[in-house]
């Protein structure tokens, strides 16, 4: 039955080559922990992606309750945390996932660096990877404000004060992020938009490029 459906779609759209590109390839011995246990270091990239998927899913559920305005933001998070069924788990996964994704990405970066995998021909993929790192830090920074509690507000204040010290573009960047002179209602709305739309869009684009390049170039060979 499933085969028939597949064939029906394939006959019209010729999806087999796409499928081949994505999934039909061999995994070399030196990255397979089943053959060499030390190859577990090659798992960090996959785990980063795994947490990213969890972040996207848990974040989608969080937006069902979260209200991005300064009157209701804290109340909505408090309600989500204490009243909503499994709200504590979903928020907990998003909260801890934000830290774990940084840890995993850091380990993945070290693995790529110390195996020299960024060398020719994979320079561009390394650059895209570092950009993903920056986007993740941006997601962490903007997401930290959203619960609108004391630590959120004051960490953002400090962060934007640091941004102001950057010559030429500092003031401009602060105004762009804060939406005005004070850190308040506009800032929360902007950080929400950046956290939920702008940066995830950039992240998905970069991840797509990252994976296409891996498929195109294959994993770097053994040392």
């Amino acid at each position: 039955m499933l085969n028939k459906i597949y064939d029906w779609v394939d006959e019209r759209l010729d999806i087999t080559p796409m499928w081949r590109d994505i999934a039909d390839h061999e995994v070399p011995e030196h990255v397979n922990p089943a053959h060499h246990f030390s190859a577990f270091v090659y798992c960090f990239g996959g785990l980063t992606f795994f947490i990213t998927v969890i972040q996207i899913l848990s974040g989608m559920f969080l937006t069902m309750y979260y209200v991005p305005d300064i009157v209701n933001a804290w109340e909505s998070v408090y309600y989500l945390q204490n009243e909503v069924a499994f709200g504590q788990i979903v928020r907990g996964m998003h909260h801890w996932g934000a830290s774990l994704v940084i840890v995993m990405m850091f380990l993945h970066t070290l693995r790529v660096f110390f195996t020299g995998s960024y060398k020719k021909p994979r320079e561009l993929n390394w650059v895209v990877g570092v950009l993903i790192f920056f986007v993740m830090l941006g997601l962490g920074f903007t997401g930290y404000l959203l619960p609108w509690d004391m630590k959120a507000l004051f960490a953002t204040k400090v962060g934007l004060e640091i941004a102001v010290t950057i010559p030429v573009v500092g003031e401009w960047a602060k105004t762009l992020l804060a939406g005005g002179e004070i850190i308040g209602a506009q800032t929360l709305a902007r950080f929400f938009a950046i956290h939920v739309f702008f940066l995830p869009a950039a992240l998905l684009g970069l991840l797509g490029a990252h994976f296409i390049m891996i498929r195109k170039q294959g994993i770097s060979g053994p040392l």
Binding site: E11, A23, N32, G46, R91, S99, K119, V130, F141, A155
Partner: protein, 255 residues
């Protein structure tokens, strides 16, 4: 795009005339013990992912994510702290040559050099050698970067007052009878400005933990204490009596 022979026209579009058979690629010429990604290797990866997920969920259940009290921009006593992965930058800015007049060194020069070098690593380390031991400069610089990041984060953690951090952000669930006559006096006098709308404190101390007697409170309201000026209270003696009684009662109820 496939052109010429082997294509047929359907309406105005051109599609392959013959279906290619769906045969997996042959990897028998590959060196070493390879394994098909789908489904063999992906299953193993999923098992690693599942073990990881269990640990992740255990962490989530054991440590509910923190939520401090609602943001109060007027509270100038709060000591801010960024999330842990920004602590190294935050700590860097505390050092003499990365702060004050030299703040650009801390905010731009050093992070810029570190992250710039990270971004441009493939062009800074161009040799064909891949083993860490065969490219000592790149390896040493990366180790230096990692060690200083860990060190700065560590310094930031051990020098921070975590007890105060937990205390200053606590959600205070005070039971304050806002309908009472005492609260009317409390809010119509200037008390509310410094001691907060639930007596939780602000620029003045919290009144919820006070163990002062009624007479002492009356005295302070009129004569001031510490940073609190004299004559903060400007009502009748009767109101003063009610106010002090209200504060004592509320403090008693929240013990």
């Amino acid at each position: 795009m496939h052109r010429g022979k082997g294509m047929k026209f359907v309406g105005d579009s051109r599609i392959p005339a013959q279906r290619k058979p769906n045969i997996p690629k042959d990897y028998s010429e590959y060196p070493g013990k390879t394994e098909a990604f789908w489904p063999n290797f992906l299953l193993k990866e999923w098992m690693v992912g599942a073990v990881f997920l269990i640990g992740y969920l255990a962490l989530t259940i054991a440590h509910p994510s923190p939520l401090e009290r609602v943001a109060d921009p007027t509270d100038a006593t709060y000591t801010p702290l960024p999330d842990w992965y920004f602590l190294f930058l935050y700590q860097l800015l505390k050092y003499k040559y990365a702060a004050g007049d030299y703040t650009l060194i801390g905010t731009i020069v050093m992070p810029g050099l570190a992250f710039g070098a990270l971004l441009l690593a493939p062009w800074l380390d161009r040799g064909p050698e891949r083993r860490p031991a065969k490219r000592p400069v790149a390896t040493a610089l990366m180790l230096l970067g990692v060690i200083s990041t860990v060190y700065l984060t560590w310094e930031s953690v051990v020098t921070h007052d975590w007890e105060k951090q937990a205390k200053q952000g606590e959600i205070v669930e005070a039971t304050v009878d806002k309908e009472s006559e005492g609260y009317q006096i409390y809010s119509s006098q200037s008390c509310i400005g410094c001691h907060g709308d639930s007596l939780q404190g602000g620029s003045g101390p919290s009144l919820l933990e006070t163990s002062l007697k009624q007479d002492q409170i009356k005295d302070i309201a009129v004569n001031g204490i510490g940073g609190m000026p004299a004559n903060a209270f400007k009502g009748s003696d009767e109101e003063l009596e009610k106010l002090a009684a209200f504060i004592v009662e509320t403090a008693e109820a929240n013990k």
